[in-house]
């Protein structure tokens, strides 16, 4: 696809749709995304599946009489676009008026970010297939007990985002990301255990097949022979992957939308200690190589680097244009869209716990007995409103500062706030899994049910 031509074509199209809605007395915003995707799946060195795709869609938001309406379409023919405008306006008539409904006005400029690595598109498919094969070979070579490939895949996406509103914003950007992952199974006697490795980012050259394959294999092999431990209280260490799982529960509670609606466990806590002093939590929409980086958010507001928790103290919440108007503050550029099919809600970009100063080994070395958690199950059942969680866990048992034997089938439970307060060490190994990142963290004491 010729992205420059496409960008011009879609800027015109978005402007036309906005005009159609504005002509009927509404203020309006059209958001278009379009792109190409590739995915490659390999098993036993064979290409099991290869998917190539193109897609496009337009989402139209209108505000008339302080009421918001929304409609979307993947069909860009004139009758389909007219119907989309009609539906958005009709939907607005059904909504409740709210004086804070508004669209942002033009910004003087956006951050200059390097979001398009040409190597992602110039690398031939055959080379990408070879990269996936190499991941699988590396996993198998790591240990003879790695016998089954659950999945081994690469995917990339190149896309264009266009945003036009009736308040003067006309903006576009073009980006690409790529990544690879593997899930492999180690088998010994009657037992099977799974492990994964993955890497996602904006640079093709940063996808290291050897690292992904060996990581997956190591995670699977070390779980062979896992057993339960008895119910007890002990220190718990989350590896970076598990820590990001917990961050995923915290994210919605830091959205101003949840706070304003009384649905956040952080409501009324700005300026207070909500975590141990070793904890800093950041949202950065401009982070280099960040998979969620972009010059502007889903409503055309420049992205920012926002410190949410500093030395354990809650500094602020994340805002989109609506929540900012309601609180009388500036949007933090967190008007996030899942896709063209959704209105811009408050959401995180590149969201992470800042690295601390200890190595993971130092963190483990100080523990007389505890659990090093490498996998949690049922994290989506944690309640971001109450903060209560109870999840299945597996990992490695720590005895006298050493990782001793694998553990599975246990559960850990508690409340997010007491968990954040209980963190007593943060590692220097900040690792991103997609758009969420964390280092190793240690919690002084938790209930482990077995």
């Amino acid at each position: 696809m010729d992205y420059q031509a496409l960008q011009k074509q879609y800027l015109d199209l978005a402007a036309r749709v906005v005009e159609m809605a504005a002509g009927k007395g509404a203020i309006a915003e059209a958001y278009i995304s379009a792109g190409e995707n590739l995915s490659i799946e390999v098993r036993n060195q064979e290409v099991e599946a290869l998917t190539t795709a193109r897609d496009q869609g337009l989402g139209l938001r209108v505000i008339a009489g302080q009421r918001v309406g929304f409609a979307f379409t993947t069909d860009f023919s004139p009758p389909a676009l007219e119907l989309c405008v009609e539906q958005a306006l009709a939907n607005a008539r059904m909504a409740t008026p709210d004086e804070h409904n508004c669209l942002p006005a033009r910004y003087p400029g956006y951050p200059q970010l390097d979001l398009f690595d040409p190597e992602i598109t110039t690398t031939p498919v055959e080379k990408k297939i070879e990269l996936v094969r190499e991941i699988e070979r590396q996993a198998r070579a790591y240990d003879p007990r790695v016998k089954i490939t659950e999945s081994c895949s690469y995917n990339d996406s190149r896309y264009l985002v266009v945003l036009v509103n009736s308040q003067g914003i006309t903006a576009a950007y073009h980006a690409a990301y790529c990544g690879a992952s593997t899930f492999v199974v180690a088998v010994e006697n009657e037992e099977s255990q799974t492990g994964f490795g993955l890497a996602y980012g904006l640079q093709y050259k940063n996808i290291d097949p050897a690292k992904i394959g060996r990581e997956g294999a190591a995670r699977a092999v070390r779980m062979l022979g896992a057993r339960r431990v008895n119910t007890q209280r002990a220190a718990v260490v989350f590896d970076p992957y598990v820590a990001t799982n917990f961050l995923g529960v915290i994210a919605p509670a830091l959205a101003a939308d949840a706070v304003q609606k009384g649905k956040s466990l952080f409501r009324g806590r700005v300026g207070q200690q909500v975590a141990a002093p070793v904890v800093n939590i950041i949202d950065d929409g401009r982070r280099p190589d960040g998979i969620a980086s972009s010059p502007f958010d889903g409503e055309g507001v420049p992205t920012e680097h926002t410190v949410l928790v500093e030395k354990g103290v809650l500094k602020c919440y994340l805002h989109n244009t609506y929540t900012a108007a309601r609180d009388g503050v500036k949007s933090t550029g967190n008007g996030a869209r899942g896709s063209f099919k959704t209105t811009p809600e408050v959401g995180t970009t590149n969201f992470y716990i800042e690295a601390g100063s200890h190595t993971p080994e130092e963190i483990i070395k100080e523990i007389p007995k505890g659990l090093y958690v490498t996998e949690v199950m049922g994290m989506h059942t944690a309640n971001p409103i109450s903060g209560d969680f109870s999840v299945g866990a597996s990992g490695l048992w720590i005895e006298k500062g050493e990782l001793t034997r694998p553990v599975r089938g246990v559960a850990i439970a508690g409340n997010i706030i007491s968990l954040l307060e209980g963190i007593d060490a943060v590692g220097n190994d900040l690792t991103f899994f997609g758009a969420t990142g964390a280092p190793t963290v240690r919690i002084a004491s938790m209930t482990i049910s077995g």
Binding site: E46, E48, L50, T51, T52, A53, D55, Q56, G57, V68, F70, A71, F72, T73, T74, D75, L83, Q87, A88, N91, M94, A95, T96, D98, E150, V185, V187, E191, S192, Q193, T194, T231, R233, K261, G262, K263, L265, K341, T343, M377, G378, H380, T381, N383, I385, S386, D388, F389, S390, V391, G392, S394, R408, G409, A411, A413, G414, T447, S449, G450
Partner: protein, 467 residues
């Protein structure tokens, strides 16, 4: 029908012109409405149209797939050619003649949701919001959501299958938040089915909203769940998450064939207690996981997976069935035209047994009673699973004791199925969106009241309360 038969034929022929032994096109036109109310305001009213086509070509064990939003004949022929080329196999041109398979069931939609004015849908959402808020002063937030989908599909393949179908689904959800000082708790209820607006003849949205609100308020007073092993009674009304996780996923043929399931190679073997029969059935009218045809054009059908403890069959799609030279069980599903079909559950349940549900509770001295399950997850490779308890009580001397919150039950599928010692004569359905390989599809789950003599409850040890 979204394209003519001649167009479909031309596209399939283009797909096979460059190689492959099977080609398929899945055309979809999905129109949706969604409404949400929060903060006493109708915040979002959204209508949408998402249409596209997915083209799949298979050569031996290799699959190439492509999709596009452009439904013009030329564009689809171009996509088909590209997809076929990706396989790099020998072309096997052939004559395609279409025949339309017969569905095993017919579903009648009494009132299509696009025939219902949006204002009427909005009014229903508002009534539910008010009903939930009226339950208790401590209800501080209520979110009500309504959504409907009309999905038209045309599925055609080089074996000559041609299916046009329309799936109509409505869904309604309520989430209530109760606050008392620093304590904040939630309650959730949902309803939905392969039904039109008639869903609300059998479901009273206000009553659902009150149930969600009452649960949130009750949870304010609940104590943290205990930790450790204990007997668990699951009420029929608790829903079917347990069976979905404990064995459903492990009986999907793709996982079995890849040796990623603890149930691999166990057909004909005893895998559960004699009391356990597990069925997957998309032909039950009106349930959330129901359909006439799966997303590959195979008629939906009832499949007995486990019968009196013996593993009878797995759930197959076209590709997994072909590998074993057998027929698909009609479980090939996909989230949308953007996805390849894979074996999935539909409505999955443990068949009712003979025990009186009340007697099961009465004859359990102590343990945990699960009245409502939340979400769950399974590691199919080792069979370990978890699910969340949305409403639970301690069992004290065969009676319902105090409510507990924050519990997750952890178990191992094959171990739990073998030790279930009581199966009630009731059956309660729940619904949800099941995720696998990044694809979400609507499913129903159900089970009777059952007792599991020992499961791990992931709660909190008492000392945490003290400090």
């Amino acid at each position: 029908m979204l394209l003519t038969e001649a167009d479909l034929k031309a596209i399939l022929e283009a797909a096979l012109a460059e190689g492959g032994d099977f080609a398929e096109i899945f055309l979809e036109r999905r129109r949706t409405t969604s409404i949400s109310c929060e903060d006493n305001k109708i915040e979002r009213v959204i209508s949408g149209l998402d249409q596209g086509a997915g083209i799949r070509v298979i050569a031996g064990e290799n699959t190439a797939y492509g999709y596009s939003n452009d439904l013009s004949r030329e564009s689809l022929i171009q996509t088909a050619t590209l997809v076929g080329k990706a396989l790099q196999s020998r072309p096997q041109p052939r004559e395609i003649s279409f025949k339309r398979p017969q569905a095993q069931v017919e579903f009648t939609i009494k009132k299509r949701p696009d025939q219902v004015p949006v204002a009427e849908k909005v009014a229903l959402v508002q009534r539910a919001n008010e009903a939930a808020r009226a339950v208790d002063k401590r209800i501080t937030q209520v979110t009500v959501g309504y959504g409907d989908v009309i999905q038209e599909v045309t599925i055609a393949n080089s074996d000559g299958i041609l299916v046009d179908d329309e799936r109509v689904r409505c869904r309604f959800v309520v989430n209530a938040v109760a606050t008392d000082g620093k304590v904040i708790q939630t309650g959730f209820e949902s309803a939905g089915g392969h039904q039109g607006w008639e869903l609300f003849e059998s479901v009273n949205p206000e009553e659902k909203a009150r149930q969600a609100a009452r649960r949130a308020v009750m949870m304010l007073e609940a104590r943290p769940a205990p930790a450790g092993k204990m007997p668990v009674v699951m009420a029929g009304e608790a829903g079917g998450t347990m069976i979905h996780e404990a064995c459903g996923h492990g009986l999907e043929a793709d996982l079995v064939q890849k040796q990623l399931s603890v149930y691999a190679g166990k057909k004909g073997q005893k895998v559960a207690s004699d009391l356990i029969t597990v069925i997957d059935d998309p032909t039950i009218p009106g349930k959330y996981g129901s359909y006439r045809f799966d997303d590959e054009g195979t008629p939906g059908q009832k499949t007995v997976l486990i019968e009196n403890g013996i593993l009878k069959d797995y759930m197959y799609d076209y590709l997994t069935a072909r590998k074993e030279n057998r027929r698909s069980t009609g479980n090939g599903r996909r989230e949308s035209y953007q996805d390849r079909p894979i074996p999935r559950m539909t409505n999955t349940f443990i068949a009712p047994g003979k025990d009186d549900p009340e007697a099961i509770l009465r004859e359990t001295k102590y343990g945990l009673l699960v009245k409502r399950m939340g979400g769950g997850q399974v590691n199919t490779t080792n069979g370990d699973f978890v699910f969340d308890v949305a409403e639970g009580y301690l069992i004290q001397d065969g009676k319902i004791g105090p409510a507990v919150r924050g519990a997750t039950l952890t178990g191992n599928g094959p171990e739990v199925l073998k030790i279930i010692d009581r199966v009630g004569s009731d059956l309660g359905f729940s619904l949800g969106t099941c995720g696998k390989d990044g694809q979400g599809v609507p499913v129903g789950d159900a089970q009777p009241t059952i007792r599991i003599p020992e499961m791990v409850v992931g709660g909190i040890l008492d000392e945490e309360d003290k400090g």
